[in-house]
């Protein structure tokens, strides 16, 4: 049985549909990331999981049971949520972290040890007497996390836990999340607009857009085999091409793209109209005709080159545009510049094919 389960959940505020027929399970011990752009409904989904809102229709079960108003507080006490931009009480750091234990009428004598241990874990030992309102953003986030974890929840809901944090605090907080997931088998649901965070932390990823849960799967499925155009675009598949399967022999297909054709590993049948996804980092660039392992090779002219940190984004016109992402160093070693003739190549397994029917 799943720890919590959303069944056909719809949420409307006035005439605005914020969630549309969302069904999703959360299992004990897993880290599930809900990724999607701002306004996709991620926060609303977390609030429903915490029973802070009631769905317009559909159900959210906990431990297989429906959560009636009478059970709500009891169920919430098994869950912890860290809100986006968490607020701390106008009280000491110690009182903030002790609060969830006090409302649960936890044994008074045991509170100090629990609170102090947790403050030590998140690196806030010695802050006990500080007023929590005087802390920095990263420290506030740590207090909020400690406050959420002090009750050993069965499920932890984190809404954009690292938004607005500096890289060092981000690493620390992500570290805690992984540590708690490993040590306590806490189910963790993280809402984030940052797909890389989902990739770093999650066992499973759900992609939400405009209130719909479009795809749920392992990170590699989401990144390399997105089920639709919108997911593909969101997870950084920059090459989305339209084509038609020409032949398919035992799973190795020829896909026609106007005047060109490429090889892909897919089950789609000849004649099917398809979208072809190729991640930019899967494409390599060479000056001479490439080695044999890549089944697809196209020659073309460099149209655009943009450096971004340690990477270079290169657009090549091979009769159709291919966007590639290579390291800055390899771009320099190749001496790439706009107007240069190059070969772009990628494996047949780097090509992900989905049916065009229904997905535009």
């Amino acid at each position: 049985m799943s720890l919590t389960e959303a069944i056909d959940v719809n949420q409307r505020f006035g005439t605005k549909a914020v969630l549309k027929d969302v069904s999703l399970t959360v299992e004990t011990g897993e880290v599930l990331a809900i990724i999607g752009p701002a306004g996709a409904g991620k926060t609303t989904l977390l609030r429903l999981f915490d029973h802070l809102e009631k769905p317009s229709s559909g159900k959210v079960l906990f431990d297989g049971r429906e959560v009636t108003p009478r059970l709500r507080t009891q169920v919430r006490r098994k869950i912890s949520m860290v809100l986006q931009k968490p607020v701390v009480f106008d009280a000491s750091v110690y009182d903030n972290v002790a609060y969830p234990l006090r409302v649960r009428k936890y044994d008074r004598k045991a509170i100090p040890e629990k609170v102090n241990t947790l403050l030590k874990t998140v690196g806030l030992d010695g802050y006990q007497k500080r007023n929590a309102r005087t802390l920095s953003g990263g420290e506030t986030q740590k207090v909020a996390l400690a406050r959420a974890l002090v009750t050993d929840p069965q499920m932890l809901l984190l809404d954009e836990p690292t938004a607005n944090l500096d890289p060092v605090s981000l690493n620390t907080i992500e570290g805690f999340i992984l540590k708690f997931s490993r040590e306590r088998a806490t189910a963790i649901v993280i809402a984030t607009h940052e797909m890389a965070q989902g990739q770093r932390l999650a066992h499973r990823i759900g992609v939400m857009m405009e209130g719909e849960l479009i795809q749920v799967g392992k990170p590699e499925d989401i990144f390399y085999a997105p089920s639709d155009m919108r997911v593909a675009q969101f997870v950084g598949v920059e090459n989305i091409l339209r084509g038609r399967v020409a032949t398919n022999e035992g799973g190795l297909a020829q896909v026609g793209l106007n005047s060109h054709s490429l090889e892909a590993v897919t089950d789609h049948r000849p004649g099917e109209e398809v979208h072809v996804f190729i991640r930019p980092e899967e494409i390599t660039i060479s000056l001479q005709s490439p080695s044999s392992s890549a089944r697809n090779s196209f020659s073309g002219e460099v149209k655009l080159m943009a450096l971004s940190g340690p990477y270079a984004r290169v657009e090549i016109d091979c009769g159709f545009t291919l966007v590639t992402l290579i390291t800055r160093r390899s771009a320099e070693e190749l001496g790439l510049k706009v107007g240069q003739q190059v070969h772009a190549s990628f494996k047949a397994t780097a090509v992900h094919v989905i049916s065009r029917a229904g997905s535009g």
Partner: protein
């Protein structure tokens, strides 16, 4: 003019020499108004919390009515309590008429709207996410309301002090339901009205100075408390 100077000198002498009548009236005033302030706070803080926390039909209207009652005339409250407590009134059987208790009741009624309104606006100044935070941390409704009240504690205390200021400085209600009996229901304001009519200016001024000083102290306290937030 010389007469007034003399009265002022006598008034100050009455205060510094701790004249028994002055002390007695001052103490009674403080006790009656403190009692009504505490009573009103016990009503207003939980009730304000509930009104602010829950959403119900007519909430906006209710808050408007409360705010309108801020400026209800003291004599009207006095008249209302008079009618309730007088021998022929519905609560006449309790024999509370012309007692300090009646004054406490009248002053409580008088300051409840102000204190309730200020409590509600103090609570509405609390970050809305505090409510969700407390609930998500496992609080039940009452624990959540209490947490929100604690967040607004400085603004609420300021409202309570303002209520005390209104109670101690009103004259109409105290006179109508208390009757201004010497040594029993005579407080600062009713004493000042009576003594000034009787031409006992030194005594009236002494009590006036004490009342103004109290008002000043209360206002300074309100300011200090408000500056905490």
């Amino acid at each position: 003019m010389a007469e007034l100077w003399q009265a002022l000198k006598d008034a100050i002498h009455l205060i510094v020499s701790r004249d028994p009548e002055v002390i007695d009236i001052t103490w009674r005033s403080l006790r009656v108004s403190a009692a009504s302030t505490i009573l009103a706070a016990l009503i207003c803080i939980p009730l304000g919390g509930l009104i602010s926390f829950r959403n119900f039909w007519g909430k906006r209207l209710l808050i408007n009515i409360i705010q309108t009652l801020y400026s209800v005339p003291t004599v009207c409250v006095g008249l209302f309590v008079f009618l309730m407590l007088s021998r022929a009134g519905p609560l006449g059987a309790f024999h509370l008429f012309f007692t300090p208790t009646a004054m406490v009741i009248a002053q409580t009624l008088l300051i409840v709207p102000v204190m309730l309104g200020l409590t509600i606006s103090a609570l509405s100044g609390v970050d809305k996410t505090i409510k969700d935070t407390t609930l998500s941390l496992g609080a039940n409704e009452f624990q959540a309301i209490w947490a929100i009240i604690k967040e607004a504690r400085f603004a609420i205390v300021a409202g309570v002090l303002l209520g005390f200021g209104r109670a101690i400085s009103e004259v109409g209600a105290a006179w109508i339901v208390g009757g201004n009996f010497a040594g029993y229901t005579r407080v600062l304001t009713t004493a000042i009205s009576l003594y000034s009519q009787q031409g006992l200016f030194a005594l009236a001024m002494a009590l006036g100075i004490i009342l103004i000083t109290m008002a000043l102290v209360v206002n300074i306290a309100v300011n200090v408390v408000q500056q905490r937030r």
